[in-house]
Symmetry: C2
């Protein structure tokens, strides 16, 4: 089954009724599974996580957006989190059974449809970006809802779809593909948090490590273990095993072993199979030998 996840962010984190209405609109679409609904009063923002096959998920995002566009008025919206639209950003994440290229063109079609349906200036961002200045959301969102009427007139900020005029109440929207983010922790058999911090520095992209790894060192006080806590932003570029093996040899320099590893939340099966394939030196993809796949497709 071609499975995708979508994580649309809506600019409403206070009105419980509206939050529910938005998430229910997505959940009512047949084939959509709502995995998570998070909202934050200070941020005044909600994050909806839905998944399923491609078409239902697209429809789910569209229906949730229909409610958000109709009922959120950014002219009166205040919150700590930056935002440029009622539907601020709608990332789509390939999970399994779908090629990135295929999802990419489907997401572009969706963005066009979204822009036309709601008359909202729509930008393709992250891996869907057609221009460099639209890859990173903070660059794109800069100026926010209030600054966009001016920003949108600049040639480099002409939207990919929809009008060159900011929607009066719903602003602008960013839509694009991003990879599945894996939250992954490695616990070390030491109570010296400095070692975890040093190792975090070694593996994370921001200090010269793996580009798609973010990492910090923490102390797990109750367990007496230091932890390297990470986000792997793109497990296809940076498989879990590579991070683990690197931490293993970095820790060995201090005579320290890995106590254990943990996934926070969820990750795609492929990320786990990558590890089995690596350690077992498999000659071909395990995916192709999985009985469940032969049965269920």
């Amino acid at each position: 089954m071609a499975t995708v996840e979508a994580v649309p962010n809506f600019s409403e984190g206070r009105n419980e009724e509206l939050i529910k209405e938005i998430s229910d609109a997505a959940g009512a679409v047949e084939g959509v599974k709502i995995l998570d609904v998070q909202s934050d009063k200070d941020h005044n923002r909600m994050v909806l996580t839905l998944a399923g096959e491609v078409e239902p998920v697209m429809k789910g995002v569209m229906e949730a957006s229909r409610v958000a566009v109709a009922k959120i008025d950014l002219r009166h919206h205040r919150g700590e989190h930056k935002r440029m639209g009622a539907v601020d950003v709608a990332p789509f994440i390939p999970v399994s059974g779908i090629k990135k290229k295929e999802l990419k063109s489907r997401v572009e079609k969706f963005a066009k449809e979204f822009a036309e349906t709601f008359n909202i200036p729509t930008y393709l961002y992250y891996e869907s970006a057609k221009q460099d200045n639209r890859v990173k959301l903070p660059d794109l969102r800069e100026g926010e809802f209030e600054g966009f009427p001016k920003k949108i007139k600049l040639p480099e900020w002409k939207p990919d779809f929809g009008p060159d005029v900011v929607h009066e109440t719903a602003g602008c929207t960013a839509i694009g593909i991003r990879p599945f983010l894996i939250a992954f922790n490695v616990n070390l058999r030491t109570n010296n948090v400095e070692i975890a911090k040093e190792i975090a520095k070694a593996v994370r992209g921001s200090s010269g490590g793996f580009e798609s790894v973010q990492g910090m060192g923490f102390m797990l006080e109750d367990r007496g273990l230091a932890q390297v806590s990470m986000n792997i932003l793109d497990y296809k570029k940076n498989p879990i095993y590579r991070v683990v093996e690197t931490i293993k040899f970095e820790a060995a320099r201090y005579g320290i072993e890995i106590d254990g590893c943990e996934i926070v939340g969820a990750a795609p099966m492929e990320a786990f199979l990558q590890c089995a394939e690596f350690y077992l030196r498999m000659t071909d993809k395990l995916d192709e030998h999985m009985i469940e796949k032969k049965i269920w497709g």
Copy 2:
């Protein structure tokens, strides 16, 4: 999804039309996926592999058996393979999402229903066996169709279900649970087949190795590599990684490395996850962190 496989063996390997009729009867059941149909003229036997959720698979085996019982007459059956019934043996294999205990009681219910529907003496074998003499199929099948009228009168061979009288044309049937068999090969960076043979001896149960491993040493002539070719009869008792790590250290004694590993056919996802969990020292089951499972159940 609770997924099982069934691999019923029918005593017909020559009549193409009947082979098709038997497999079509199973395939016609909604929710049944026919994974394989193998027949052998010398053995005069067919092996049907079907899979899906529990109830459709049970129904598929029942419907295929209905055809086999009606059309196979063992009084005129000759072949190299031993057999005691038209439906000689029907193993059920848990794949995922179902506890062995749960499937066990369902299979017992199926065996009873089978015996009553067709008036066939039915034995619970392998992991479903209620008596020690019924665990191994060769013990149970000894005497074959022709010898069973006498054997069945012995108190220790009273069938678990059905009459104490052999079915005139369809004989007796063995039904039970068995684990998923994984065919797994490890290629060694040597052209010395003797090393592969020595290592096969070290890992296989029959010569003192792991109880549920069968193994032989072969030469892959075209690749110039020696291969340890194995069946892992029960990956829950004997995970793939344990076999690989053992072969790794045994090979190191000869200064030889593993070139690569391969799965022949298919294996359950769980067998791969076991490996990732082991090598990554996961603190909990990866299964519980798999996004696909959260979406599709």
